[in-house]
């Protein structure tokens, strides 16, 4: 068996993201991960939309399409339906997936198309040089919002859970091990997987995720384990009477009262409640990990099951019968 190494997934294209861009880390993680998983590059297709992150397919030596703004999930749907032998990835950003392509994203998720979506969320429009995005906090001052933005941002994971997604996860560009772990689970999931990746844009939104270091911080989710975090796991998540979840001191309530994370729960309510722990303004607190990972028949498998192709020699004859129809008349 030939060993596949990272280099096989490195294309000969010069990587042209800005120095320090978080995209580099994701690319490197991806290029190492794929050989580890044993997925051949000729079975790998990366479909991207438009945006900084959408340059991704250029840099991976596999099949790829740099398509149109927001449309990658639609194109990937056609491809995945046609080709069960391919690992189809969608690389998109917060503007691409949640603004112009919001419709395609939610429908790909609810259909459960067998694709893996990496959503690079830098909370800004980078490629167009710094306008606020659908994940920017209210009051964001940018070139297009000099007086501060006034619209409420999306919580991408709440959106995905609401759209009946079967695999929903979040990771960060700065944690290679976590990134690799989450992406591995995402590609293993049969159906649509959405992985939101917090990605720093040092040029137009530098430090967007820095407050996580100061505040309550990242809340790691591990299936089957109580949700605790912070120094010495002193903080934890409990369920409130109204069904929402909140952060408490573990010492106050005791470890038994802490919510145990269940990523495989068929009802998405708890995953949704956990997704609401994400700050929508300045980001001081955000759960990361796999929020939801459940089995549901994949759209493309079900589609293919309905379609059958006659043997080549029978195909035209079958078609001829159809074309001739039942009611014919003859002119001599």
């Amino acid at each position: 068996m030939t060993t596949v190494n990272r280099k096989e997934f490195v294309s000969d294209q010069e990587v042209r993201w800005c120095p320090g861009c978080g995209d580099y880390a994701v690319l490197a993680a991806f290029q190492s991960l794929m050989p580890q998983l044993g997925i051949k590059r000729e079975n790998t297709v990366i479909v991207s939309g438009i945006g900084c992150s959408s340059r991704f397919p250029y840099y991976v030596d596999s099949y790829g399409l740099h398509s149109i703004h927001g449309r990658a999930p639609a194109i990937a749907t056609g491809l995945a339906t046609t080709r069960p032998d391919l690992a189809v990835w969608v690389v998109t950003g917060d503007g691409d997936a949640l603004s112009i392509g919001g419709n395609h994203l939610i429908h790909a998720l609810r259909r459960n198309v067998n694709i893996t979506i990496m959503l690079f969320n830098n909370r800004i429009y980078g490629l167009t040089k710094g306008q606020y995005s659908p994940t920017s906090e209210v009051g964001k001052v940018t070139k297009s919002t000099p007086a501060g933005s006034v619209d409420t941002p999306f919580n991408p994971l709440s959106l995905a859970l609401g759209a009946e997604a079967t695999f929903v996860a979040r990771t960060v560009d700065s944690n290679r091990a976590h990134l690799t772990e989450v992406l591995t689970a995402a590609i293993a999931h049969r159906g649509a997987s959405l992985v939101e990746i917090y990605q720093n844009c040092p040029i137009f939104n530098d430090g967007a995720f820095d407050d996580l270091k100061a505040g309550p911080g990242l809340i790691p989710l591990r299936h089957g384990e109580p949700i605790t975090f912070g120094p010495d796991q002193s903080q934890g998540v409990v369920r409130s009477a109204d069904g929402s979840v909140r952060v408490v001191d573990v010492a106050q309530v005791g470890l038994e009262a802490i919510l145990v994370h269940d990523a495989h729960a068929s009802d998405p309510s708890q995953a949704f409640a956990i997704s609401r722990l994400t700050d929508s303004g300045v980001l001081r607190q955000a759960p990361i990990g796999i929020f939801r990972n459940v089995e549901r028949p994949a759209f493309d498998d079900a589609m293919r099951a309905q379609v059958s192709m006659p043997a080549p020699e029978e195909r035209l004859a079958a078609l001829q019968a159809l074309v001739s129809g039942q009611d014919t008349w003859t002119v001599a």
Binding site: R71, A74, A76, G78, L79, T82, H104, R315, L316
Partner: protein, 539 residues
Amino acid sequence: MTNVRNIDRVVIRFAGDSGDGMQLTGDRFTADTAAIGNDFSTLPNFPAEIRAPAGTIAGVSSFQLHFADFDIRTPGDRPDVLVAMNPAALKANLRDLPRGAVIVADTHDFTTRNLAKVGYAANPLEDGSLGAFQVHALDLTGMTVGAVAAFGLGRKEASRSKNMFALGLLTWLYSRPTEGTEEFLSRKFASKPQIRDANIAAFRAGYAFGETTEAFTVRYEIAAAPMPAGTYRQISGNTALSYGLMAGAAKAGMPLYLGAYPITPASDVLHELSKAKHHGVTTFQAEDEIAAVGAALGASYGGALGVTSTSGPGVALKMETISLAVMLELPLVICDVQRAGPATGMPTKTEQADLFQVLYGRHGEAPVPVLAAQSPGDCFDIAVEAVRIALHLPHSGDSCCPTATWPTGPSRGWCRTCRRCPRSTPASPPKPTARTASSSPTCGTRSWLGLGPSPAPQAWSTGSAASRRPTRPATSPTIRTITSSWSSSAKPRSTASPPICPPWWWTTQALSGASRPTCSSSVGARPTGRSRPPCAESG
């Protein structure tokens, strides 16, 4: 005593309320007309309202049929005969009638209330306002109820057969055979013997009424039209288009993938192809028009034949993806089943106004060959041809027709093909010229039949490593718009017109037959093998 008069052509319009069964009546009359061997063309006209209030102008549904003893091309403009089942049908259609036209009106529905509903102060059948026409005011409903009394149906149920009474009368008037309709009714209502018998009785009563009444002094005969020998069927443009797409994909040995979003009047293509899953056809009802074409393009990238069907508003939304398909040189067939009007327009009305959109709708240099079908039957050939070109066309940027490369931005200097400055807009737009396969210098760079199902995706250039990938043979660009007219229930075209693209070796010989209208010569009889179609020689 009834005289028989021979005439060469007639246009009949059946009009009534949406619930009166006018489409079925027209369909049946068409089938009987086909059986006689007349040439014909039809125009169904539905109300846009799904369930318009009964008796209103908005709720009028009509079916027009033009038939003749010679070759005709259109459903006709001015009906010689109007069958009006209610005052709304009369009012909505009266202005289309020439002087002297025959009006058969069902007096039963000309009640004060119904007249008032459409703004008639007095009954036009009685006030002399129809003096320019030959009016036959008959109680069709009353006679129908009488004719079916034996079957024990309620009055409402009984009166529903009035369309068959009217059909019977017209069948007599124009000397059509009756067996076809009787067989049809027996089949259609096989599970409801009461309804079946009532309908057949009404149909026979209508026929007998014509024969016995003194109201009609003339009966007409229209001889068979000289038609090329062959086996014929009725087919709508959308059905022919669907079959053509399937035939094209089958000839190419590729699976067919349709991405579509429901849109009148193109949805029937989606419906038709959705029934063909056992022919290797995948249909995807997308979330919107853009996703529909996107998925089709994705499927093409995976080695299927990607097709999207839509109408004008959908084409507008798909333009960016069409440009992308040109750029990626992937096969794609776009079907534009045209509706009327700007913006959303009029879904149930037809127009042929999308030509400029499909020729010039894209940005940048994204030339797209455009084919237009000339008849419902021709939609089949056009679809096959579109598939052929889509899979076969060599690189599009080289020698395309002037229209397609006409620069659109003021910063562009000259169109290199026609050498006219785009700033001085030509008095008339450049003449649409479809690119022909024969003009292509490298037609046949890849074998049309050489594509196996599910080839590996085509390498998209990301550098030299592309050469190491398992790619299929260099693909050709490929994109094709079909502009088909939406018309229903007409025969395959009966005369060969100058083809927009050169006749294709097997289309003309095998599927539709050298003598056009036959659909029955076996597809399997086509030249087989993996040889290249001789398109290079055709120019």
